[in-house]
């Protein structure tokens, strides 16, 4: 083992900031990260063992015990549950002869749950040894397990490959992109790769920033910060080097637009990155790609290789002296919070993905403590079109405060889930019509951290000034139990994904979950509803990052917009009710000490 592990470490030049890559390679080699490997890494990188372990223990896809020759990670996000993932889970358990969270005795098959994998338009879906399997059926599960037992290669079991570039020999995936159903006016506008960059290099770096500022382009990753301003801040910060990071972590359940952009138009993204790099004078770019999309890695590498040959990446780009820029892909390892830009940077430096305190902001001291711009995939891709057609053309589309278009990932109870490009200002109703959603109880805008709206609000529009979303748009049909099926799943997601640095994010989520369950059990009071709301609001002020600040949103926005559902759960006029049951509470201890419970 020693030689192999050392070879892996050498591949990354004994650089401890590359610990993520080292661990990813070791996990792939041994289906786990053995204790012996931890010791070798610590020795070689001159770190303590616990430093290695604390990074390792943070990420969902790193394990210290072998997780199976065939490792199934079945998505347990809300939409997956809507689409019958529990039935699929039972089928996996029955066929494999083991339960979720464990590995078969012979070590052949491991079954695990995982948070959203970016396939909400084709659930139930799972990753098996990193290969996505979507629209799973019970018969497919049987076939898969039989295949494992016969020792088949995972990628030989996918069956038919999907639409668009999913059938490209470099991808060969069964994923369907349900591709960009409406040919949108910006992102999806056809163009020839390289044109935008050619225009860019003819003007100064400042002029590029000025153009992006004038366009009013705002970040598409959720927060909506003006992109041009961010670049300008970065450009003005002092540092030895400047970095450009593209955030392709896309962990918000219900969001899968970046999967489609990365599959269908990666050239546009890389070109956008080159433009941004030119503007902020960055030599090094990093694409932080979520682990769930590892099936796209080779393809993306190949696309970049072609662009290098075309002199769109690399040294003296387009013959411009001093314009050197290249991109490396940094894989994640399964952690939603790593989508938060400062956590992303920590992760890229080989550490636990815990958000940093701000200030300093990444534009001041980001990756390697140097000025760093972090932008979303869609933001950077959009820049290409602004450089081609000008800021005024761009600004004319959308609403006053939300220029341009937005990619929405539509999933849930509708006939046509998929990714759509909409002009900002599009009404919820228009989206619902287009995706053929007919019996709608609620729409979750922006995933768990967003808002859950009722039908009276469907004439509101998608924009930063009204309903803001990073991309998720989940339709919840009339026959769903909104509180039991949706809200609890979302709170469980936040409990699972909290990095646990802040006490309210770590604990209050669990307390709120307990209170909600009390109501669902029929033991709640009106007072419990008020407390849920009051305590939930506290989360906004008392946590370090957006995860904790929004973790109570599923509860808060459903109390605001679906209060009758909560009130219907209250069966008493009392202002207080306890769920405590003495007989149950003493049962276990009395049994163990051998005594008859004496409850009165």
């Amino acid at each position: 083992m020693k030689d192999k592990v050392q070879d892996i470490i050498k591949k990354y030049h004994d650089d401890k900031t590359r610990l993520m890559d080292i661990l990813i390679d070791i996990q792939a080699e041994y289906n786990c990260i053995p204790g012996e490997a931890i010791e070798i890494i610590a020795g070689q990188l001159n770190m303590s063992k616990v430093d290695v372990e604390q990074t390792l223990s943070f990420y969902h896809f790193f394990t210290t015990e072998p997780n199976g020759k065939y490792t199934v990670y079945l998505n347990d996000s809300m939409v997956a549950e809507m689409m019958g993932r529990d039935e699929i889970a039972r089928a996996f358990e029955e066929e494999a002869g083991t339960t979720f969270g464990s590995v078969t005795e012979d070590g052949l098959i491991g079954l695990f749950n995982t948070s959203d994998i970016g396939m909400n338009d084709q659930e139930p879906a799972a990753l098996i040894n990193g290969v996505p399997f979507t629209s799973l059926t019970i018969s497919k599960v049987k076939e898969l397990i039989a295949g494992f037992k016969a020792g088949k290669e995972v990628k030989d079991m996918i069956g038919q490959t999907g639409d668009g570039n999913n059938s490209d020999p470099r991808i060969m995936s069964m994923v369907n992109n349900n591709c960009l159903k409406r040919i949108g006016s910006i992102m999806c506008l056809e163009y020839e790769t390289g044109w935008a960059l050619r225009r860019t290099v003819h003007i100064t770096r400042e002029a590029v920033i000025e153009m992006v500022k004038r366009s009013n382009l705002r970040g598409r990753g959720g927060a909506g910060f003006p992109a041009g301003l961010k670049w300008e801040f970065c450009r003005k910060s002092e540092g030895d080097a400047t970095y450009l990071v593209c955030n392709a972590d896309e962990g918000e359940p219900g969001t899968f637009k970046e999967r489609v952009v990365l599959t269908e138009m990666p050239e546009q993204l890389f070109e956008g990155m080159a433009i941004a790099a030119y503007a902020i004078n960055a030599k090094e770019g990093i694409l932080y790609l979520r682990a769930e999309y590892i099936y796209l890695r080779d393809y993306l590498e190949d696309v970049m290789e072609t662009m290098r040959k075309d002199n769109l990446l690399g040294k003296h780009i387009l013959g411009v002296e001093g314009f050197d820029f290249d991109i490396r892909i940094q894989m994640g390892a399964g952690a939603y919070v790593c989508g938060e830009e400062s956590a992303l940077i920590e992760s890229m430096e080989g550490k636990r993905g815990e958000p940093r305190n701000r200030p300093p902001f990444p534009v001041q001291a980001g990756y390697m403590n140097q000025p760093t711009v972090v932008n979303n995939v869609e933001t950077l891709s959009t820049v290409v079109k602004i450089m081609l057609n000008g800021p005024d053309w761009f600004k004319a589309i959308g609403t006053p405060e939300s220029a341009g278009t937005k990619l929405l990932s539509v999933a849930g109870d509708c006939k046509k889930p998929g990714v759509y490009e909409f002009e900002f200002g599009t009404k919820v109703n228009e989206v619902l019509d287009l995706v053929e959603a007919t019996s709608v109880q609620a729409v979750q805008i922006g995933g768990p951290s967003g808002v859950c709206i009722n039908p009276e609000m469907f004439d509101r529009n998608i924009s930063f000034e009204d309903l803001s979303t990073g991309g998720a748009f989940i339709v919840i049909g009339k026959d769903r139990d909104l509180l039991q099926d949706v809200v609890t799943n979302y709170i469980d997601f936040f409990i699972e994904e909290s990095c646990s640095s802040c006490a309210p994010c770590r604990s209050l989520t669990v307390i709120l979950r307990g209170k909600l369950q009390k109501l669902l059990n029929g033991h709640g009071t009106m007072n419990d509803i008020d407390e849920l709301y009051r305590w939930g609001q506290f989360m906004k002020q008392a946590n370090r990052c957006g995860l904790g600040q929004t973790a109570a949103n599923p509860i808060l926005t459903t109390i605001e917009n679906f209060r009758p559902l909560y009130e219907a759960l209250v069966k008493t006029d009392e202002d207080y009710m306890s769920e405590f049951d003495m007989s149950k509470a003493v049962e276990e201890s009395c049994k163990y000490v051998d005594r008859v419970p004496n409850v009165h």
Partner: protein, 182 residues
């Protein structure tokens, strides 16, 4: 007008909150002018002898006895206050939550480093003893709690300010120094 009646108790706590209460120092003389004590370790009255106005609860509930006492307090006090982390959240004792009860008992009475004298490996099971609960419960999950005083322990000033506010009906003064914990 008769003085308001005060009761206090320590459930699954360390008595630290009561010690902090005593830290009001000479103000205790003022306090006995203001209130009458009933059931409390402070005057050693063991059972309620009359209806009380204010009950201060230290500690959460780890056994059946704690539950009875807490319910008794609820019955006999108009206002109940959870005093300190243990009463509010379970506190240190709640570190056992999540560990099976069996494992806790085994460690405490059979296998732990301090069980030397228990040569007969006896587990406490006399009928007179309180029964251990499956986990440590915060007080508000058992009975309605009206107010919470945070801290481990809450400072003497916080306890004092809160009591005075309850007695006089004035607004509670909460200067930063009184609720900051670092």
């Amino acid at each position: 007008m008769s003085k308001p009646v005060l009761a206090t108790t320590s459930l699954a706590g360390c008595f630290g909150c009561h010690m902090s209460f005593l830290d009001i120092d000479e103000r205790i003389l003022e306090l006995i002018e203001l209130v009458e004590f009933n059931k409390s370790p402070i005057d050693d009255i063991k059972t309620f002898t009359k209806q009380c106005d204010i009950g201060l609860i230290e500690g959460g509930c780890c056994n059946s006895e704690n539950i009875h006492v807490l319910k008794d307090f609820r019955k006999n006090c108009k206002i109940l206050v959870s005093v300190g982390e243990c009463a509010i959240m379970g506190g240190l004792p709640a570190l056992r939550n999540g560990i099976p009860v069996e494992e806790c008992l085994r460690e405490a009475y059979l296998d732990g480093p301090t069980v030397g004298l228990n040569t007969e490996k006896i587990l406490p099971n006399d009928d007179e003893l309180p029964m251990l609960l499956d986990k440590v419960y915060p007080c508000h999950e058992i009975v309605k709690i009206d107010y919470y005083l945070p801290g481990c322990p809450p400072t003497a000033d916080l306890i004092w300010n809160a009591l005075i506010a309850l007695i006089t009906g004035d607004e509670l003064k909460l200067p930063y120094e009184v609720v900051k914990f670092d």
